[in-house]
Each structure stands twice: as C-alpha cells, then as structure tokens.
C-alpha cells in the first residue's frame, strides 16, 4: 500500500545547511540585541547621573551600584537565595493551585458561579490587611509566608487556564465524548493540552508575580535577620539610607525577574513549538 504515500520526508541535509547557519546567526543576535539594549540603557543612566550631577542618595551611578553589589554580595547573595526559595515555592503552589481551581471551575457552571467570586476576593484583598489573620491562624511563619505568596500569584494562572480550558475545540470534545472518554481522560488528553497556550501566558505572568509575592509575603509575614530575603534587605537599605545597596538589591530582583521570565518563555516555546501558531514559523 505504499502506493498511497506520496511525499518525501527525507531530511534534505544539503538544503538545510543554509537555514541552519542563518539560524545560528539568529541565535547570536538573540543574545546581542538585548545586550546592546542593556548597554545603551546603562550608558544613558550613567550619563544622566553624571551630566545632571544627581546625588548618589537620589540615583546612584551604575558604577556605584555595581560596586555595592560586589561589596555587599555576602549579604545580598544570601538574601537572594532566601527570596528565590520563596519565589519558587510560591510559583509552584500558584501553578498547582491555579490549575486545580481552574479545572474545578470549568467542571460546571454552578461551581463557577459559586466559587469564582471568592477567588476574586482573594485576589483583591490587600495582603497587609489580612496578614494578621494569616499570622494568627497559620501554624508556622513558613506556612503564613506561602499562603500570602499564593494569594498574590495564583489568579493569573487561574484566569488564563479557565479561559483556555473553556476554549477547547468543540469538535474535539465531540470526538472524545463519542469514544467514551472519561472526564479525567478528557481533561488530561484534551482540555489541558488545548489550554496550554493560555496556561503558558499565565505562567509568564505568574513567574514575575511569584517574585513579587515573595517580596510582599516577606513584608507581611516573613522573618528578619539572618534568614531574611531581598525584601528585608531592600527596606533595610532604604531605612539605613544606603541607596546604592538599595539599588543593588533592586538590580538583583530585576535580574531574577528577567531570568524567570526567560525560563518561562523558553518552557513555553519548547511546549508549543511543534504545533501552536504562536510558536511556529509561518511556512505556508
């Protein structure tokens, strides 16, 4: 029956050589463009501080910040580690919590009507206002911290995943129904993959938000001293008027945020590149 397969799937090594080269050229550009942009911005910053003679306690020069970053690394590095731990814990529970809730909400219109207002309430309640309650009822500071972080970070995952789950192609739903798929099978084999592009957009939001969550949670419920994270160091520097260190801490926070964003974007690309419009090149 090979009579019916008519197309060559033979990888054409020779023809592929050219695009491969230009692809790696693209890779290089992918690194260079952001670096050039970064250099330009830092240059602008340095120039501004220099030209307008901005005192260092208002806006320190990049050099000063870099120096403070190096000098204070023992303190800041340790704080970064603490913050990172909370961030990833927050991200993990936000993802799990968000997806599980989304699955629940999509099960039925009634559950959605009954529960979603409370999700919104969780989202909009200022942490600082309910931190005392959390502190009172949480068994440990660690738990309180995670509860706070979760409250801050889960909503985008929930909202996006919900929209994604609902956007499943009706024809495919019919197909699954027809073949007697169980609800779980439909969920795992159909709805969740279909929701991936939405979920991944939510993930990119949640990545940064988890970092914010870690900071906010630390403000509201965290520990200080040796075990304290970047948030504490930040406030402390502000309090101590050590503005270069404040900016160094800020810089670390930003770099972490960008790294997380890069990682989530990469994950997103890897998961979609074989099939989703948003990640494949338009070839025809």
């Amino acid at each position: 029956m090979s009579q019916l397969d008519q197309s060559g799937a033979v990888p054409a090594a020779a023809e592929n050589a050219a695009p491969a080269v230009s692809l790696s050229g693209e890779r290089v550009l992918r690194v260079i463009v952001p670096l050039v942009m970064l250099a330009a911005l830092v240059g602008l910053w340095a120039w501004y501080v220099q030209a307008y003679n901005i005192p260092k306690y208002i806006l320190p020069s990049p050099a000063l910040v870099a120096q403070s970053l190096v000098n204070d690394w023992p303190i800041l590095g340790a704080a970064l580690l603490v913050t990172l731990k909370i961030t990833f814990a927050a991200l993990a529970i936000a993802l799990v919590g968000g997806v599980v809730l989304a699955v629940l909400l999509v099960q039925s219109k009634w559950i959605e009507l009954a529960i979603s207002p409370y999700m919104v309430i969780l989202q909009v309640t200022p942490i600082v206002a309910i931190a005392p309650l959390i502190l009172i009822y949480a068994p440990s500071t660690q738990v309180a911290l995670l509860v706070c972080a979760w409250i801050v970070a889960f909503f985008p995952v929930l909202s996006n995943t919900t929209q994604g789950l609902k956007s499943t192609d009706h024809n495919l739903l019919n197909l699954f129904e027809l073949y007697g798929a169980s609800p779980l099978q439909t969920l795992f084999l159909l709805k969740l993959p279909a929701a991936l592009p939405y979920f991944l957009a939510g993930l990119r939001i949640a990545g940064g938000l988890a970092l914010i969550a870690a900071v906010v949670a630390e403000f509201a419920a965290g520990s200080a001293g040796a075990g304290s994270g970047l948030a504490f160091r930040l406030l402390e520097s502000q309090y101590r008027l050590n503005i270069p260190r404040l900016f160094a801490a800020l810089l670390l926070l930003c770099a972490t945020g960008v790294a997380i964003y890069g990682a989530t974007s990469l994950i997103s690309h890897l998961m979609l590149r074989r099939w989703h419009e948003s990640a494949i090149r338009r070839e025809n």
Binding site: P132, F219, A220, A221, S223, A224, L235, Y239, R240, L241
Partner: protein, 310 residues
C-alpha cells in the same frame, strides 16, 4: 520665605507644636510661610527633601543621621523636639513580665522591620536573652499580639496602648525604650547641609518658631492647632489628642532632661556621642564615623520660649 516641612506620619498630637506655630501665626511672625506636608505609611518625604522639593523633614531618631554620616548623605539635624523616643514594648499583664529584661522570656515579639534593625539589635547587645527567633513582623495590627499572651509588641506610647486598652479590655505593661537605655532623640528637625549653608537665617527662624510653637502647644491654648490637625486628618479625635498630650507630659517626651535647662529642641554633642557609642557596641552602626556634619547645636539650647512654660 516659603518653606515646607514634611512630617513622618499623619497629623497627630505628636506634631502639635508645628501645627500650633502655623495656627497661631508664630511662623508668620518669624517671616515664614510654612506648609506642612503630612507623611503616612510608606510616604517618601525625606526623598522629597533631598530632591529639593521640600526644605525640612521630621526625622524619627538619631540612627537616621548616623546612617547619613556613614553614607555621606548631606543631612543635618538642627533640633530635637522629643528628648525621648516614644517607642515602647507592650506586654500582657499578669504573665510575669515585670521588668524590661523579662521580655527576653517571651517567645514572640512583634516588631516592624526598622525596629528589628535598630533597637532590637541594641536590646540583644545590652540585655541577655533576646534572640532573633523572637522576631515576628508587625503589620500595625495588634490582633496577633492580643491573640497570644506569650508575646509582646512594639508600639508608640501615645497610640497603641490607648487602642489596646480600649479593645483588649486590660491595661498592658509598657516599657519605654528610652527609659531602658535606648536614649535617642526623636522628632528631629532635619534639613540638608546645602540648605543650611545657604539659608542659615531661615533655618534659625524655623527652628525657633517651631520651639515656640511647641511650648504654646503643650502649655498654652492649643485649640487652633488641634483644629488644624483634625482638618488634615479627620479621623483624629479630641479624646486621642488629649490622651497623647497627657502621655507626652507624663513620660517627659518633649520636655525633660536637657530640654528642661536649654529649652525644647535642645540637642547636645555629648548625648549624641553617647548614644552613638551604644549603637556601635550593638553593631547597628559602624564605628569611627565623623558625626559633625550631620547635626548642628547652633540653633538650640538657648532657652528660647522657656518663658512660655507654665
């Protein structure tokens, strides 16, 4: 001259003298048109002063100028309205906490981050038994403290004790940090070194008028000032204001120690150096700082307005 003065919190009796000087025309008499810019949670009034948007700021305690000296920030303190910082630690009664040292026995102390970074470090060095494990963050809500008898919390002597007593229905134990050795000045008038250099005359007038304002507020007719406070902060009640003034007098917040001799606002080199020594010992600030640029005794301890005290 038009100047503005940034406070560190919402209008309250603790700022009374400044409002008094606005209300009764003392500033005007001194040729100043003063605008008071209220602070608030997370307000950035010091940054505004450093950026030249305001001229004066109300500094919380001496640690701030110490930091400024360390970081080379051109601040200068020109008067110390509060001789004692009104910071207290509050504990439940009947739990065996009788002396300040006893606080070390409690598993939990709710403190703000700045408290942790400043006086708690000093407590660890000055008294035995305090440990980092006791620290829990204070979110300006006393509920966690009320819920846990085995805890203490920070407070401002004029506000939290009042509320805790009202809500909790008991009279809490209060330990004024200043009386236990943490003897920083507080509510300092701060300006920038540049401003001081180019407008020493304005600074002098502002300081003196403020001091007179404080005397009048504490010992004279303060109704006009209180009305101004209530206008800026409609939540403020007469009851609260009266309580605050009484407490300030009872604990000698404003008018005690050096102020009794040199007048309100008095700050001295010896006092500052001695407190600096304690803080160095506690590891809160670096040793060997040159403190000279960050304070000036030029405008105070001259007995200005003492005659108004009754």
């Amino acid at each position: 001259d038009e100047v503005s003065f940034g406070t560190n919190w919402l209008a309250q009796a603790e700022h009374g003298g400044f409002y008094q000087a606005v209300a009764d025309g003392t500033y005007e008499k001194y040729g100043l048109k003063v605008t008071i810019v209220q602070g608030g949670p997370q307000a950035a009034n010091r940054a505004l002063m450093l950026a030249g948007k305001t001229q004066f700021f109300m500094a919380g305690n001496l640690l701030e100028p110490f930091s400024a000296a360390q970081e080379g920030i051109p601040l200068v303190e020109v008067a110390a309205i509060f001789q004692k910082e009104p910071q207290v630690l509050i504990a439940h009664p009947d739990t065996g906490i009788e002396k300040f040292e006893d606080l070390a026995k409690l598993p939990t102390i709710f403190m703000g981050k700045d408290g942790y970074a400043s006086y708690f470090q000093w407590m660890k060095s000055a008294y035995p038994g305090f440990t980092d494990e006791q620290y829990k963050p204070y979110t300006f809500n006393p509920a966690p403290f009320l819920a846990d008898k085995q805890s203490a919390q920070q407070g401002y002597i004029t506000s939290e004790p009042f509320e805790i007593e009202k809500q909790g229905g008991f009279k809490p134990k209060l330990f004024l940090l200043a009386d236990s050795g943490f003897d920083t000045y507080s509510t300092l008038i701060e300006t920038t070194q540049d401003y001081l250099k180019s407008n020493p005359d304005v600074v002098k007038r502002f300081v003196e008028a403020s001091i007179i304002g404080w005397y009048n507020y504490l010992y004279g007719d303060n109704k006009a000032a209180n009305d101004l406070i209530k206008k800026d902060n409609p939540e403020m009640t007469d009851e609260q204001i009266a309580f605050s003034i009484a407490t300030m007098k009872e604990y000698g917040i404003v008018d005690s120690g050096e102020a009794e001799k040199g007048g309100i606002g008095c700050l001295t080199k010896e006092h500052i150096e001695s407190f600096y020594g304690k803080m160095v010992k506690a590891g809160v600030v670096k040793a060997g700082l040159d403190l000279a640029p960050v304070y000036s005794t030029e405008f105070v301890c001259k007995g200005v307005g003492k005659e108004l005290k009754k």
